[in-house]
Amino acid sequence: MARLKTGTRLKSAVCNTQVMVVSAPDADVELTCGGQPMIDAAASPPPGATVSPDAAKGTTLGKRYVNADGKLELLCIKPGEGSLAVGGQALVLKEAKPLPSSD
């Protein structure tokens, strides 16, 4: 369990996924990827852990993932095989609303 900070970069302990925290709830959360807690981008992954089969839908580069109340939003900056979840609830792809090009 940890409090997430906007702008922080995290990586999966079990696949290539890396995310940046776009927005975070004001509470401690358990963020996982591939079924294992995500770790700081600079940390070394624990040995031996693998992607859990029930959390293996994968992440897509450049997509945003949100929880049910929309308070947690992550941006995938490196894709991987694991899928993202918070407190055991899978995060879902955020719908993109296209804006007119302004620059």
Binding site: G7, A41, S102
Partner: protein, 501 residues
């Protein structure tokens, strides 16, 4: 959080596509990434605190921007129209600096205090072919990404502070990663020292849209490049669009068939210019983008549908939207406040205030103007209509106060612009013994047209309240603008005030 993250993602997503082209030279995303890494090494070795650039657009601009981000130094693009004397005081404020310079200026710039000068070609030469480097850029979101000296239409230049979190938030809030098709190309013709120039780089990289740089703007070169490079997207300031339209009208046979989207901002767009542009380019989507340096560029947009609906409508209220700057981005809030900071409802004029992750509102050495609730007062006057469209009425400091009545120069200028003999105009307040301030106007007539002072006064009186009729009207051959098309209103005001006597 670091701007480099945008480029890193682009490399993973589409590293072999062309990122930027200038003339005959181009860099793919992976090459730009490698060049940024090598430039970061040069920057770190130079022992500088800031990386400045005094040059027109070239490949060196994105390389220096990302190289600075990688090295954890602020990037400071300087206005190449400044005199050596003006540059000296700016150089002192950012010393010690590494200064990437236009070749023809390099020798003169070596005299600047605390600046280590390297020419554009030397800089690019050292950055290309460098060994690949680990992604070791700092991730502090509060580090400064860009320092921009504001144009100084209202006093001595101030350095607006744009942090990594501001520019990255702007990109995240307004774009989808890799959203551009492989055939899309953006023409970048605003100078590097303009916030739109910096935003264009960050946005194009993240969207995966090939950038085509124009060294500096000229309407013929812009049109020629747009046709040759099959440009699909572009951003221009209003003066640029006016000059493009003039040239296109002289040679209408070709048009700009590949241009899908043309956005404009950075100053008030005269209604006749946008109307002519829409007629000349019926296949192009127009977007008005309102933003400030201090807000990391765009905060509100009037989109293509709004343009078409307004242009096609007979309803004056709808038609008027063509003069609006549209609605706020979803990631930005806009509020109108009175002089005491109290929020005002629809239709009431006050100060435009904005809140959002991309809003900096900060100047170097002067602290932040953002209040405790996160609101930044823009000093722009305006109102929001019932449907949420934002209308601007000029700078707060330009509001004319005549006998206790507040008047916006923009409203009077709009009416004068609609007169068939008026090519350009500026309305300002001048000192008046009876009323405190009086309304005065400087007018540029269209070639071959004429209008008398009395006729123009009558024209305004018939359309606005009589208090808004200019008491004094003078005719000029041209009005003073800065190089990115901002009217130098203070100069007009000073001239008219001194002549009023």
């Amino acid at each position: 959080m670091n701007l480099m993250m945008l480029l890193e993602m682009a490399v993973s997503g589409f590293g072999d596509r062309v990122a930027v082209r200038c003339g005959d030279e181009a860099l793919r995303y992976e090459q730009l990434f490698a060049a940024a890494g090598a430039a970061a090494g040069e920057i770190a070795a130079a022992g500088c605190e800031n990386v400045a650039l005094l040059d027109v657009n070239s490949l060196a601009v994105p390389v220096a921007l990302f190289g600075s981000a990688w090295a954890g130094r602020p990037f400071v693009p300087l206005n190449y129209r400044l005199t050596d004397y003006e540059l000296e005081s700016l150089a002192e404020r950012i010393a010690p600096s590494l200064l990437v310079a236009a070749p023809e200026r390099a020798d003169a710039l070596r005299k600047l205090p605390g600046a280590k000068v390297v020419t554009r070609d030397e800089f690019l030469g050292r950055a290309s072919g460098g060994a690949s480097r680990d992604a070791d850029w700092p991730m502090d979101p509060d580090a400064i990404a860009v320092l921009l000296f504001t144009s100084g239409t209202t006093g001595a230049p101030k350095a607006a502070v744009i942090r990594h979190k501001h520019l990255v938030s702007y990109v995240f809030g307004s774009l989808e990663f890799g959203g551009a098709g492989e055939d899309e190309a953006a023409l970048v013709s605003v100078p590097p020292y303009h916030i739109a120039g910096m935003a264009a780089i960050a946005s194009s990289i993240y969207a995966g849209r090939r950038m085509v740089q124009l060294a500096s703007f000229a309407p013929e070169a812009w049109i020629e490049t747009a046709r040759r490079e099959r440009i699909t997207h572009a951003f221009v300031v209003p003066t640029m669009l006016g000059r493009i339209v003039d040239v296109l009208e002289g040679a209408p046979a070709f048009g700009l068939p590949t241009l899908r989207a043309l956005s404009y901002g950075g100053g008030k767009m005269p209604l006749p210019v946008i109307e002519r542009a829409m007629q000349l380019l019926p296949g192009t989507d127009f977007t008005n983008a309102y933003g400030l340096t201090e807000t990391s560029s765009t905060i509100a947009v009037l989109g293509p549908e709004d343009h078409r609906a307004a242009a096609a409508s007979d309803d004056p209220a709808l038609r008027r939207r063509l003069t609006s700057v549209g609605r706020p981005l979803p990631s930005v809030e806009v509020a109108i406040r009175d002089a005491d900071g109290k929020p005002l409802g629809p239709g009431r004029s006050g100060e435009v205030c904005v809140r959002g992750e991309q809003v900096s509102g900060e100047y170097l050495g002067r602290g932040s103007l953002v209040d405790a609730e996160g609101w930044f007062p823009t000093r722009d006057a305006g109102f929001v209509d019932d449907a949420g469209y934002l209308f601007l009425e000029g700078r707060i400091d330009d509001v004319i106060v005549r006998g206790g009545e507040n008047m916006s120069p923009g409203e009077i200028e709009e009416v004068l612009h609609a007169h068939e003999a008026v090519a350009d105009c500026a309305v300002v307040g001048i000192p008046d013994q009876e009323w405190g301030e009086a309304v005065a106007a400087a007018i540029v007539l269209r070639p071959g047209r004429s209008a008398t002072v009395a006729e123009l006064q009558q024209w305004v009186r018939e359309r606005l309240r009589s208090s808004r009729t200019p008491q004094r009207i003078v005719f000029r051959d041209e009005l003073p603008y800065n190089e990115t098309g901002k009217l130098l209103r203070r100069r007009v005001k000073a001239e008219l005030a001194s002549e009023a006597g």
